[in-house]
Symmetry: C2
Subunit: 328 residues, 2 copies
């Protein structure tokens, strides 16, 4: 089983076919960076059209059972998520509405301060806000997973502690392997994984040691080390694949409508666009390479199977439905 914990591609029949070629059973796809509620609904609508148009390649994913169904019918199950809480605006009631529409992950922040928490690019991280605590409780209730990939350390640790259900960092790597602002320190990973949460490893070059030149061996050895440190069962892939996107999209991701200037995010004035993917991971057909690389590290077959998809499957099964409260 192969599950990718995050992609944001410029979707097309070509990519849907590559998912099938790569044996990808399920993908969590981003449908909002800075979108309002209404704009996010338009993105759900766009996916509804693709589900109508390509019923033999993809299907909407709401529960882990949909992954089984996708596998049985040779398709990829698409699960939705937001990289920012902008879709709920200032209305906690939209948490359940968006979950009903199919949202299964929501980051409490992108890079900036949000109404809920602090992003990893802010100078000072004040942790969960008043509304943040309320929204995490509501997300817990309905089964919308808290994702802290782009949040600050304190916010992430507080979210893990405050949440009554496991949370996720869907796409990031360890800071001590490559000290990018977006990569996570051990105490942050610990706070998430020791409560049953998941870390998905990113293939986005800015998150990789040596960037686009990162080797498959280095990436897989890092994962094997993390399995030893935090337990292989809490690890997965969150490739952050942004295939076929024009550079205007990375500008939108970084600058949204919050600045009239340009924010280069992890890029720079000299390299403002999307970075080149490493040669060994260019699209969904390369998941087999990743699996081979993980096996080569000496990780057990079970651990590799878990990291390639089994762990996300279990996490999806346990966290996408309404909370079961003790005694009810």
């Amino acid at each position: 089983m192969r599950i990718d914990g995050l992609q944001y591609a410029n979707w097309s029949e070509k990519i849907f076919r590559q998912m099938r070629e790569g044996g990808v059973d399920a993908v969590h796809v981003t449908i909002a960076y800075h979108e309002t509620f209404r704009e996010t609904v338009l993105n759900f609508e766009r996916w509804n059209r693709w589900f109508e148009q390509y019923p033999d390649l993809i299907m909407k994913g709401l529960t882990s059972a949909d992954i089984d169904h996708a596998r049985d019918t040779g398709r990829t199950a698409i699960f939705f998520g937001f990289q920012n809480p902008s879709p709920i605006e200032d209305d906690i009631g939209l948490v359940e509405i968006l979950h009903t529409l199919g949202a299964r992950f929501m980051q409490l922040t992108y890079n900036n301060q949000s109404l809920l928490a602090t992003g990893c690019y802010e100078e000072y991280d004040a942790g969960l806000t008043r509304m943040g605590r309320e929204v995490v409780a509501e997300m817990n209730r309905v089964g919308l997973v808290v994702d802290m990939s782009h949040s600050g350390d304190r916010s992430t640790i507080e979210a893990a502690e405050h949440s009554t259900r496991p949370i996720a960092i869907t796409h990031a790597n360890p800071h001590d392997w490559h000290p990018a602002l977006r990569n996570k320190r051990a105490q942050v990973i610990r706070a998430v994984t020791e409560r049953g949460g998941m870390l998905g490893f990113s293939l986005y070059p800015h998150h990789l040691k040596d960037g686009s030149d990162c080797t498959l061996e280095s990436f897989c050895e890092m994962i094997a080390r993390m399995a030893g440190d935090f337990g292989a069962e809490h690890l997965g892939i969150g490739s952050d694949l942004c295939q076929d996107q024009p550079d205007s999209v990375v500008e939108w991701m970084r600058s949204g409508r919050w600045t009239k200037g340009v924010d280069y995010g992890e890029g720079s004035a000299a390299a403002p666009g999307f970075p080149l993917m490493p040669a060994w991971f260019c699209d969904n057909r390369d998941f087999g390479r990743l699996e081979t690389g993980l096996r080569a590290t000496g990780l057990s077959d079970d651990d590799v199977a878990g990291i390639m998809g089994g762990n996300w499957y279990r996490f999806f099964a346990e966290n996408f439905g309404p909370e079961v409260r003790p005694g009810t």
Copy 2:
């Protein structure tokens, strides 16, 4: 089994308890008259709160199986509908979005011309519009029932003909019993029922012979006659109960934001508010009286059971899911 094909009450715990006292297993409730998409979502949100607050009395209804579940657990299943297509604005993609959120009925018009068809208060009824035909096909595809309660004759007949699935007039009475603008002529009822559609009889006084003074006998004899003319299996109740609503709500229903003046609708300057309900049907506890009245007409037990709820149940079972196309 008791199912009401339309209510628009000022919802409260009191009314939810009265539903239980009246043995009402399911109700189609209106959540939009003139609301935009976002405003309609706020109304879904309000219902989500009530479902959280009164889990022992009510539950969300999406399929006929939810009625079985409601009966098994002593609750009333709430199904959602719109009396106007305003929630989809000018965006056909919102049909599926709103169906996903739980909408199961949508009128193509309230009293005025809409983007889709003509309301029964317009002077000239030009029938289904270009967008109307597209939206009916999309409603058919996803399982959102076309309701023509407030539409003109030509629009209603064209909707019945154009729709590949049965449509409904959830709340109206025959025009030859009481010639209100909102009541339906035989050829309109014929066009709907001969294609498997449903007519729900209204208890709203402006739709009743002798208004608030209408007798239970007169109402039930009218239904018995209609059963003879059109087949009892196509008939149900759509009480149009607007319990506990202030008169400001009937003003909103009639005038929305489409006029700066006052539209009295079925009322008048002398009687602008909600009319008094007939003494024998004031709230949900009175469904038993209706059943007794229907039995007294000599209708068979099966026919009475169908009209009180069995027919809506079958209609819900057949029309709330995706369309099954021949050969697929």
